[in-house]
């Protein structure tokens, strides 16, 4: 009845007008296939033009596997990095290795101990060290804890790497992140949900790792359920993450593996930075690199964020030299991006293989010098923003794009 009084022709004309306008306006707007460069395992190309030191490929899959707690892979990579550091020193490319030989030895020693224990060759369990959490509360339990409830991505990632069999549940988002292989996550059957505190209590965890943003009522409930909360707040820099690894390692009785993991991350960072130094002649001299995030608008992370700190280490975003105060990011509008004339852009994107080509449709991006030079890339946001030891992989992804192909992977 409501529609019977309409005059169809008038309305058809209006609809026709709208769709004609859109068709004319967007007919030239095509989805041209765009070549997307994502870090991938490729064969090592010729490096001799760049450096006299024979470079060994850094395989991302191996780094990833090691970061999930695979000790033999850690040992292998540590050995390779040590050899490369010595070679670079021998050829005079670097003066002193940023990760000292004694630390390499210490890491190898720890790896052997952990491996021996994991394979049951010796039973000796390192002693528990009662720790003070980041809120200053002393952890004190009648017996060494053996079951843990991680409430945050950081604690879950560290616990999965150090002792996945001791986890009773995972934070809900953990299974969607590409940090750990699904079969590893499947061994932890429960997810933490706001409404399943009773089921979680039935799993009898001894300690719950909480964050400063955990709800006070949740902390109270944990206490009432005889689950000791352990506060971890320090995750604002790589150094703080390493400290948290030590701390969690001590609480869960995996002191050696925690120390090994922390040393591995430090050695990995050093290996990447040494590779950059070794390949410095291959890097462009006139370089205006930008590291950007793309949400509804573009922005550059500041040093307050972990990704901003990575950018700072790699001298990205130096063109945006400004006082950022307490902000997490600097918004970047089209005009500013145009004026910066970036020659190299990397976007931290969710589902980057799918989203980068869509982002590149933007007419402004197409006109940047970076597009002309085919130097617009993307890295997976899940690693770039992960406040865990997987930050090493985020750093790897950026270095892999900074270096010309064949000089890292």
């Amino acid at each position: 009845m409501l529609f019977s009084s309409l005059r169809p022709l008038t309305y058809l004309a209006a609809v026709g007008f709208i769709f004609t306008w859109w068709t004319l306006a967007f007919s030239s707007w095509q989805h041209a296939p765009v070549k997307v460069d994502i870090p991938a395992d490729t064969a090592l190309e010729r490096y001799q033009d760049v450096t006299p030191c024979p470079l060994h490929p850094f395989m991302r899959d191996e780094w990833h596997k090691a970061l999930t707690g695979d000790v033999p892979t850690m040992m292998k990579l540590l050995a390779e990095w040590q050899v490369e550091a010595e070679l670079l020193q021998d050829k005079g490319i670097i003066k002193t290795a940023s990760f000292s030989p004694s630390l390499f030895l210490r890491a190898q020693e720890l790896a052997r101990r952990v491996l021996a224990r994991e394979r049951g060759w010796h039973e000796a369990h390192p002693p528990y060290a009662w720790q003070t959490d980041d809120g200053g509360a002393q952890l004190s339990l009648p017996a060494p804890p053996s079951r843990f409830l991680p409430q945050t991505e950081l604690s879950a990632a560290i616990l999965l790497t150090l002792c996945h069999s001791k986890l009773v549940a995972l934070p809900a988002r953990m299974r969607e992140l590409p940090l750990f292989p699904p079969e590893m996550l499947a061994r932890v059957p429960f997810d933490i949900d706001r409404y399943n505190s009773e089921s979680l209590c039935a799993l009898k965890p001894d300690v719950a790792f909480i964050a400063h943003y955990t709800q006070p009522s949740t902390v109270q409930t944990l206490r009432q359920q005889q689950i000791t909360p352990f506060l971890i707040t320090r995750l604002n820099s790589l150094e703080e993450i390493l400290q948290s690894i030590y701390k969690i390692g001590q609480v869960v009785g995996e002191i050696e593996k925690a120390e090994l993991l922390a040393l591995f991350v430090q050695a990995g960072v050093a290996a990447l930075e040494q590779r950059l130094m070794a390949c410095a002649p291959a890097l462009p001299t006139e370089h205006h690199p930008l590291y950007l995030e793309a949400f509804a608008t573009l922005s550059a992370p500041t040093k307050r964020s972990l990704s901003g700190q990575l950018a700072l280490r790699l001298h990205l975003n130096e063109a945006l030299d400004e006082e950022t105060g307490n902000a997490w990011s600097i918004p970047l509008n089209q005009e500013r991006l145009h004026n910066l004339k970036p020659t190299w852009i990397v976007f931290s994107l969710r589902d980057c293989k799918k989203n980068l080509p869509l982002l590149l449709e933007h007419p402004l991006l197409k006109e940047t010098p970076a597009a002309t030079l085919k130097q617009i890339f993307a890295v997976e946001e899940a690693f770039q923003t992960s406040p865990t030891h997987f930050l090493l992989l985020a750093y790897y992804d950026l270095v892999a794009l900074i270096l010309p192909k064949g000089l890292l992977i």
Partner: protein
């Protein structure tokens, strides 16, 4: 009816402000004006195809601002006239909530990048669907009481907002998605392109023409639906046509700058105080006031960048304060209540 001297002065004043705001929008920016001008001239002469801040960002942004401000104010005027209630607005009838909720799945599925045209289409369909649903739910034996209609709108708006809140809560750990949704729902005029302008312009134009064509019917409807019917107005047809127009205007504004609240509730009151109740004057005055207000607000936000404010949150804040100010005035309070 002709405009009085005071009304003419206000019109000239607003035109002046709009002109200044437009010039400010064109000139203000990090790029040196001489470079901007040279680039624009080169484009017109066909000697360059390079991206130009004036032609590729500031001009489409100005168009989007003018269209959005005008659309929202006009949608408010028509809604209030149609429902004969000064508290009616696309927002209070649930149109904004419906429109926003329909757009939400596009962001969840990541389709906003692949199919940007779906944003205005779904926003339009969302607002139209909500309006029709409100109308249907408010019917009692084929008759619609306007007070019931408004209350139904408020109830549906609450339900739709709750659903949206549920979706936000369900995806609270997807922080990059939250960032996108927060920015969109706060309204933004950053990085407007011709794509935004083209998405919005046809919707706005059709909506405006549709509303203008029913200005006389709206004047008659002000006396009541029954009176209007006896004076020859096909009430059902006019209602439906204006529903479609309101949906087009709201959907277009949503596509252009996202969620902007309170514009459509507050500005119509100022327009009525300024030019009276004849829609021949209300419409152009609404266009002018809406366009001027939004353009000036955007320019102000760019001149004094406040991290906490977006165009949507600032306009809501100012709108709320003005609304309280209106309520504090006894005469206005009687008019509103």
């Amino acid at each position: 009816m002709t405009l009085s001297r005071a009304q003419c002065l206000i019109t000239l004043f607003l035109l002046g402000i709009l002109l200044l705001a437009a010039i400010g929008t064109f000139i203000a920016g990090p790029t040196e004006w001489s470079l901007v001008r040279a680039g624009a001239i080169a484009r017109f002469q066909g000697t360059s195809t390079a991206w130009n801040p004036l032609l590729d960002e500031r001009l489409p942004r100005l168009l989007v601002l003018i269209c959005s401000g005008a659309s929202l104010t006009l949608a408010g005027i028509v809604t209030q006239s149609l429902f004969q209630n000064p508290l009616a607005s696309p927002m209070s009838l649930g149109l904004t909530a419906g429109s926003s909720l329909c757009v939400l799945p596009l962001f969840l599925l990541g389709s906003h990048l692949s199919f940007p045209m779906l944003i205005p289409m779904t926003a339009f369909l969302g607002s139209l669907g909500t309006l029709l649903l409100v109308y249907t739910l408010a019917q009692d034996k084929g008759y619609v009481r306007l007070s019931t209609l408004l209350l139904t709108g408020l109830a549906l708006s609450t339900v739709l907002s709750a659903i949206q809140g549920t979706v936000f809560y369900a995806f609270r750990e997807e922080w990059s998605l939250m960032q996108i949704l927060t920015e969109w729902s706060a309204g933004s005029t950053l990085d407007r392109t011709w794509q935004h302008a083209h998405l919005q312009l046809p919707l706005t134009l059709v909506g405006l023409v549709g509303c203008w064509s029913e200005r006389h019917a709206l004047n008659l409807l002000a006396a009541g639906e029954e009176e209007a019917f006896y004076l020859g107005v096909d009430v059902q047809r006019v209602r439906l046509k204006l529903f479609l127009c309101i949906s087009l205007l709201v959907g277009g504004a949503m596509a252009g700058i996202g969620m902007i609240g309170f514009f459509s509730l507050i500005l119509p009151h100022f327009v009525r105080k300024w030019v009276g109740h004849q829609h021949e004057w209300l419409f152009p005055a609404g266009l002018l006031l809406g366009a001027t207000t939004l353009t000036t607000l955007d320019l102000g936000l760019r001149a004094i960048p406040l991290h906490a404010f977006s165009i949507g949150t600032l306009s809501s804040l100012l709108g709320g304060v003005f609304f309280l100010f209106l309520l504090s005035d006894k005469q206005d309070r009687e008019l509103l209540c």
